[in-house]
């Protein structure tokens, strides 16, 4: 799995490619927490458009970061087009907490406007 972190003003965009499972989720969690503390991040966008695989560990990882961002008054969005990942997001109830978009630009305008 490859991880790219991009900062757009106070919004951190976490772009993942490859496969996200329990093993990878641990790595991402550490990286994101560090970036949030060091870069004064308010909003978070998970860009999973280049991800080829995800299991429910990805859902747990997003929910954990959602709680953190909410506690500082920010917004979280997910960019995802893969039907199977979308099914996981719906099944877990995550789609009731955060919005899912097809592109990073759409997600950016949403979290920044919030």
């Amino acid at each position: 799995m490859e991880i790219a972190l991009t900062l757009n003003q106070r919004t951190l965009i976490v772009s993942l490619s490859g496969e996200l499972d329990h093993h990878g989720a641990e790595q991402i969690r550490t990286l994101i927490e560090r970036a949030i503390t060091e870069k004064d991040v308010k909003n978070l966008i998970f860009d999973f458009s280049a991800l080829s695989f995800m299991d429910s560990s990805g859902i747990g990882m997003i929910i954990g970061r959602y709680k953190l961002i909410k506690s500082i008054g920010g917004g979280v969005a997910l960019v995802c087009t893969n039907p199977r990942m979308k099914k996981l997001v719906t099944m877990s109830g995550l789609s009731r907490l955060i919005s899912v978009y097809s592109t990073v630009d759409q997600a950016l305008s949403e979290v920044k406007g919030a």
Binding site: E19, H22, H23, R84, M91
Partner: protein, 141 residues
């Protein structure tokens, strides 16, 4: 088509990707669709993660996977010799997790049930857990 394989590996999280890729490569002999293969990979990943995180909770255990192909059916058995599950009915409920602090979503068994045709969980406290998953390949379910 009749075939069988057995896989053993340490309960290290780095092996989760290896396990699902190995099962997917073996099942490919049945010429599944990409969707069927993705369903199997996801279900295996959930079962292996459960064995590593909940069954053992340490990296020195052995996770065993056997996979049987019988005509158009694939049967996958994921076994750990870890601590076992006290209440299977509770553990397989959606959103239940034994490790709420570890950011588990509590969706593992629900994902396995949804993405496969059948799931059977057998467990003995202190001895371990066997999860058996089956799926018909090439049929619309």
């Amino acid at each position: 088509m009749e075939n069988r394989m057995k896989l053993e590996f340490l309960s290290k999280s780095a092996n989760e990707g290896f396990a699902r890729a190995a099962v997917a490569a073996f099942v490919s002999q049945l010429d599944p669709t990409l969707e069927e293969l993705a369903d199997i990979k996801t279900a295996v990943s959930e079962a292996v993660t459960n064995a590593i995180v909940h069954g053992y909770g340490h990296p020195d255990g052995i996770v065993t996977i056997t996979c049987e192909l019988l005509q158009t059916q694939v049967k996958i058995k994921i076994t750990d010799c870890g601590q076992g599950i006290e209440d299977i009915a509770l553990a397989t409920q959606p959103l239940y997790t034994r490790s709420p602090d570890a950011e588990r979503s509590g969706m593992g068994f629900t994902v396995m049930e949804t993405f496969m045709d059948s799931m059977v969980v057998e467990s003995t406290l202190g001895q371990g857990t066997i999860v058996t998953l089956t799926k018909e390949i090439g049929t619309i379910s």
